[in-house]
Symmetry: C2
Subunit: 454 residues, 2 copies
C-alpha cells in the first residue's frame, strides 16, 4: 500500500461499497476488504437475495453519490401489491395515490457492481477481495485481515468501519469485550425459512405476470412473493415455517411440493416450470433480526448496515436503511464531527431508527402473509388510498416509511401505528364510508400528526 | 479415568455440584471439570457474590439430595426487609405473616463446599479443578477440556451438562452454530454496577444492625442492601449507575465517596469502617440478564443454571432457580426420559419459567431501589401482610415466588402481577382500609386465582 488509508472498511457489499465511495468523494483514502471473490469476475452469489426493493431512503443516498439516475435505469418500478387469492383472483393494492411514488425492483448484483466500479474509478486499489476481517485488538488499536491464501494485512491506529453484514466478525469482537462496554445484543430467528424460485419470461420474451407489481400470495401462516427483474423474469420467494402441517419439514418429496403448490399456489404453477428442481437444489434461507448496542468502540470501530442492525426483509427496507446509515454519517461529517464523537452521535441517531424499522418489518411479515387477504384490512388499505388521493398531504404508515426520507423510521412507526389503529377502528365497523366523511377522518389523522410532530 | 462417565459436567459451581451429586445418587458416573482452583484448598473467590438468599425452591432441591438440614444450620434467617430512610429511620416489612416463611442468608462458599464434599464422598475423583471446557465438536459428539497447565481431556459420545455459568463456553459453542439450530440469544446489561462492602461485628462480637433482616437503603435510582453472615458480619452491596450525577463515574476520590455516604447512607457509615478502602479495592461488578433458546443440542448438550438463564439478583432467585433446574431434571428422569427427549422436555418446561423470573428480577430492582420507600407501595405491602394474616391461604406475588415451589415462576408472575395491580389500585385511593373490607378484597383476589389456575 503506497498511502496510508484514512478509513478501513470491512466488507464491500452494498453498504460498504456506497460508504467507501462517499468517503472517497469526501477526499478520504479508503481501504476495503471483501471476503468474497470479485463478483465482476466470477459467477458467485452476491448475497442472500437476488433482487431488492429500492425506495426513497435508498435513492436519496444514491443521489448523494451521484448515481441515482444510473441505478433507476436498471430498476423495474413496482406500483403496488398484486394480491393473488387461492382461487387465482387478483386484487391490486397501490402503494400510493401520489404520482411518482413507487418502489423499484433492482438486482443486488447490479447495485453492487455499479458502486464498486464508481469507487475504483476514484481509487483503483481500494478493494481487496477474498480477504476477511480476522481479529481486532482494541488495546493496540489494531485490525487484522486474512486472505484466503493466508496473506495477512495489519492496520494500526486507523478507524475501522465495519459493514461486514449480519454475521459481522467486527460485532463478534465487540461481543468478546461485552462486560467492558456493557454490550447489549439480541439475535432472534423467525420460525420461517425462505426458498427462491424463478419465473422465466414468456415465450415471446415478455413478463408472464403483471410486471409493475410486487406479487403476493398471502396464505395466513405462509406466503409467496415475486419481484420483477429487467430481463422479464421474476424472482419468487416462498416463506414457509420450518415445522408444522405446512412446512419445509413436510415438503420432502417432489410429489409433496407439487401437491402443496397445486393446493395453495395453483395460479403460479404454470409460471414456475422448474419448481421441484429449484425447490430441492436451492438452499433454504434463514430470517433473523439482530439488535445490539453500542455500535462503536472509542474512535477505533463503528458498525454500520446489517452488522449493526440486521432486519427481516418484509418492509423492503434492509438495504434502504443501510444506505441511510451512509447518508446520516455523511451529514454528521458535514458538521465537522470525527473520531469517537462522530461514532457516538451516529449510533445515538441511528439506533432508535434501526430498532423501529426492525420492529416494523416483523409487524409487516404478519401483515403480508395474513392481513392483506383480510376484508377489514383491505377496506382500510382502500380507505388509505382514498385519503391520500383526497388529500395528498396525508401519508399512510407505509408511505411514511417508504416515500418520506425526511421523516425518521422511529417517527414513522410511532405516528403510523396510531394512524393504523384509528383507521382499523373506522373500517371494522363495516359501515360504508362516503366521500363526505373523509374530511372528518383527515382531521382526526392530522391531530395525531400534530401531537406527534418531531 | 478408570470408568467411562455417563455424564460430563462443565463447571462445579453451585448448580454443577448439586447436579453432579444428584446424578451420582441416581447411580450415574459423573465427571466434573471446574475452571477455578479447589476453593477448599486455596483462598479464592467462590464467585460473583459472597452470600445469597436461599429460599424454598432451593431448599426443596437440597432436600432432594438430603442436605437441607445441614445447609440451614449454616444460614441466617431473614424475616423481612428492614428499610433505612435517609434520616436513619427504620421500617420493618415482613416477607410473610405465616410462621416459618422466611429467606436464608447463606455463604456461597459454604454451600459449594458442602455439595462438593458430598459428591466426592460418593465418587472421590469426580471433580477435576483448574480445567475448563475449551470446545465442542457437534459433528463428532466430542467435548474437549483443557487444564491450566495445558493438559487436554477429550470425551466422545458422552452427554455434556453445561453449568459453566453466565459466561458459559458451551453456550458460545451453540452461538457458533446459530443458523443450524436457529439459536435465539439476548444479553442485556443494566446501566448499574455493584460494589461489595463489609459491616464487621460489633466489639462484643454481636451483629451491629438487626440480624434477622435483609437491610435496604432505597434511594430512588440507586440503593444499598446488606445480608447477614453467621460470623456476625454483614455483606453490604451498593448498586449504583455507572454514569450520571450519582454514579461510579463521579465517585473517584475518597472524599467524594465519604460525601456521598454522608449524604445518602449516613446511618450506615459508622458500621462500614473500611468504606473508602474497600470501595477502591473491590472490583465493580456488572449486572446482566442472558436469555437464549434452545438450551440443548440433540442428545449431546444441555445448558442448565446461569449458562442457560443468567438473571440479575434482585429477587434473590438466581441460585434457587438453578437448583430448581436440577429438581426438574430429576423429575423428568423419574419419568424414564433420556437423551434428546429429556433435554427437549427439560428446556420446554424450564424456559418459560426462567424467562419469568428474569423479568420479575428486573421489575424487583425498580421496586427495591425506588418503590419500597414509596407511601402507596408501603400501604400495599402492609395490606398484603394483613391479608396473609387474615387468610393464610392468600399468597402475595413475593410469597408465591419465594415460598411456593409448587407454583411455577411463570404462574407466580402472571397471577402476582394481577394481584399487584388490584392492590395498588385499592391502596392508591388513600382511603383507610378497615378489617371489615378484607373479605371483599380477598374475594376479588381469589377470583384472579381461579381465573388463572394452572
Amino acid at each position: 500500500m503506497q498511502q496510508k488509508p484514512d478509513y478501513i472498511i470491512a466488507g464491500a457489499g452494498l453498504v460498504g461499497s456506497l460508504l467507501g465511495l462517499r468517503l472517497a468523494q469526501r477526499g478520504f483514502r479508503v481501504k476495503l476488504y471483501e471476503s468474497r471473490s470479485d463478483m465482476r469476475k466470477a459467477d458467485i452469489s452476491a448475497g442472500r437475495s437476488i433482487n431488492l426493493a429500492l425506495s426513497d431512503r435508498g435513492i436519496r443516498s444514491l443521489e448523494l453519490v451521484g448515481l441515482k439516475q444510473e441505478m433507476l435505469q436498471h430498476a423495474v418500478p413496482m406500483q403496488g401489491r398484486m394480491v393473488h387469492d387461492v382461487g387465482g383472483n387478483l386484487q391490486f393494492q397501490p402503494y400510493s395515490e401520489r404520482p411518482g411514488e413507487h418502489i423499484n425492483s433492482i438486482s443486488r448484483r447490479t447495485l453492487n457492481v455499479i458502486l464498486m466500479d464508481a469507487l475504483e474509478k476514484m481509487q483503483p486499489d481500494a478493494i481487496t477481495f477474498n480477504t476477511e476481517l480476522s481479529s481486532l485488538d482494541f488495546q493496540n488499536f489494531e485490525s487484522v485481515f486474512q486472505s484466503r491464501n493466508g496473506e495477512r494485512f495489519m492496520h494500526q491506529n486507523i478507524p475501522l468501519l465495519a459493514t461486514d453484514g449480519a454475521n459481522s466478525v467486527a460485532r463478534k469482537e465487540l461481543m468478546r469485550i461485552s462486560p467492558l462496554i456493557r454490550f447489549n445484543y439480541a439475535q432472534n430467528f423467525q420460525n420461517y425459512g425462505y426458498k427462491e424460485l424463478t419465473i422465466p419470461p414468456a415465450e415471446d420474451g415478455s413478463f408472464r405476470i403483471h410486471d409493475h407489481s410486487l406479487h403476493i400470495w398471502p396464505r395466513g401462516h405462509f406466503m409467496m412473493i415475486a419481484l420483477p427483474n429487467p430481463d422479464a423474469t421474476f424472482t419468487a420467494t416462498l416463506f414457509l415455517p420450518y415445522e408444522g402441517k405446512e412446512s419445509f419439514a413436510v415438503l420432502q418429496t417432489e410429489e409433496s411440493v407439487t401437491d402443496f403448490y397445486s393446493k395453495y399456489f395453483a395460479d403460479s404453477m404454470p409460471h414456475i416450470p422448474a419448481l421441484t428442481k429449484e425447490f430441492f437444489e436451492h438452499p433454504t434461507g434463514h430470517l433473523y433480526t439482530v439488535k445490539c448496542h453500542p455500535w462503536y468502540y472509542q474512535d477505533q470501530l463503528q458498525l454500520l448496515g446489517d452488522a449493526a442492525h440486521a432486519i427481516i426483509p418484509f418492509y423492503g427496507q434492509g438495504m434502504n436503511c443501510g444506505f441511510e446509515d451512509v447518508f446520516v454519517l455523511d451529514q454528521l461529517m458535514d458538521q465537522k464531527l470525527s473520531g469517537e464523537e462522530l461514532f457516538q452521535k451516529f449510533t445515538d441517531s441511528r439506533k432508535i431508527n434501526s430498532d423501529a424499522i426492525a420492529d416494523l418489518a416483523e409487524d409487516n411479515f404478519i401483515e403480508m402473509r395474513d392481513k392483506v387477504g383480510d376484508p377489514v384490512f383491505q377496506r382500510k388499505r382502500a380507505l388509505e388510498n382514498r385519503l391520500e388521493k383526497f388529500d395528498p398531504s396525508y401519508f399512510s404508515k407505509y408511505a411514511l416509511v417508504t416515500f418520506r426520507p425526511d421523516v425518521s423510521y422511529h417517527h414513522a412507526m410511532t405516528l403510523g401505528r396510531m394512524q393504523d389503529e384509528l383507521l382499523m377502528q373506522i373500517c371494522s365497523s363495516g359501515e360504508e364510508i362516503n366521500d363526505a366523511s373523509l374530511p372528518e377522518i383527515l382531521l382526526k389523522l392530522k391531530k395525531l400528526t400534530l401531537e406527534n410532530s418531531e
